[in-house]
Symmetry: C2
Subunit: 248 residues, 2 copies
């Protein structure tokens, strides 16, 4: 399950820790299997998760701390680990009218950035994250961990650019890209819901034709010697600006 090939073959993924499994449960997701050791049994929440998993036909497996550690690849394993069925990630899962903000990432390579974008999306009240072109797997252990449970609260879609832009233009919505080549300060425009905040690949940024297809291309001020921000940071600074305008 920690290996992408096996994960995809089984159509399952791993999530670890009471906090994330409880978040999943609150959002209607129970694991197909839940692993726990002695330390897990002592937690009220763990016992509730175990009972709920069994009540829905899932399997609760009592194991040792050592095996839990092996499952998670960490020395100090979480009290529980769940195996979940992967979600569908078609664009048709996205109903843009359900949220004022959506995050979009293109060719995002870092699972920590992906998970962090999910977590930020949850915080700003975004509806979900749309992954364009060849992004890192949202169901990897690292992405799930960085999402801190937001994998279960945010919708996730994956699509090639052509499909995304056709879908984007099939209804109303503002596509806002971030680009170092833009002269438009990100605090200048009036954002409009549903607003799609698009960030590009960590190294290359957005391809020129993708940038050209945006309704707005904006730039955060860069006061120092660096010329760019981390992709998840860009998305967050942008998303909070959009949220701040909407809540005024």
């Amino acid at each position: 399950m920690r290996d992408k090939k096996h994960r995809k073959r089984e159509g399952c993924f791993l999530a670890e820790g009471l906090r994330i499994l409880a978040e999943a449960e609150e959002n209607g997701h129970l694991p197909e299997q839940i692993f726990y050791a002695e330390s897990g049994e002592r937690h009220t929440i763990a016992r509730r998760l175990i009972a709920a998993t069994e009540a829905t036909g899932g399997e609760a497996i009592r194991t040792t701390e050592a095996i839990l550690a092996k499952l998670s690849g960490k020395d100090n394993p979480q009290a529980v680990t769940g195996v979940y069925r992967e979600f569908e990630t078609g664009l048709d899962r996205i109903d843009r009218s359900t949220a004022p903000i959506w995050l979009v990432a293109q060719a995002l390579r870092d699972p920590g950035n992906l998970g962090t974008m999910l977590r930020t999306g949850d915080a700003v009240g975004a509806g979900g994250l749309i992954l364009i072109d060849d992004c890192t797997d949202p169901f990897s252990v690292e992405a799930v961990r960085a999402s801190m449970g937001a994998l279960f609260t945010q919708k996730i879609a994956t699509a090639p650019w052509q499909d995304f832009i056709a879908w984007m233009r099939s209804a109303s919505g503002q596509l806002v890209g971030t680009s170092l080549d833009s002269d438009l300060d990100y605090q200048q425009p009036d954002y409009a819901a549903p607003c799609f905040v698009l960030v590009g690949n960590e190294s290359a940024g957005l391809p020129a034709d993708y940038a050209g297809a945006c309704d707005l291309l904006v730039k955060m001020p860069m006061m120092g010697k660096a010329d760019s921000l981390n992709a998840a940071i860009s998305a967050a600074v942008m998303a909070y600006e959009v949220l701040n305008q909407f809540r005024r």
Copy 2:
């Protein structure tokens, strides 16, 4: 050098890639040793870095791609890798009058978060990053990599809380903490330079007495089910708000 024990014994650290080494050079830092392979020799910038390193008494070591890969722990190594002398990290390195914003992190555990905070600090025109209590090593390969060169443009200081707060109060400056327990929206206060933006540990947040010692304790709006942001994201959203006020 990839191991903390060895790094500390030698007082040196590794930085990889033309972009970061060039950023270092622009800020007056040349490596004590520079490693490069055939692919590196073809780059004008690499040749300039090699010559500059030798001109200042450093050592330029031609090696193989395989050994470069081993040095960096990555399959696709960068064209050059430099070994740098660690900087002093006393609080006395910080002259608060030199910048309007300073970032402060307490018990930060994740090297990616630390490096990202340096990179964000550079972008917002911060003067540097002050690391309180037991933070992850700013000179680790992961932190240096995530900083994208900002390790060389930002001042770095490390201090126990008691020393920091005494230093903080020895001159003027506004200490702004982020806390989930605050009712004060982060866009409400008027920030004043030099403004010190303080974020707490990834899991535990700020200790109550540290939070109590802040001039302001603010909170970003949380619209979703999650109750917190990634620490580097919090710092960035806060820092851009402070910058936006200052540039108005």
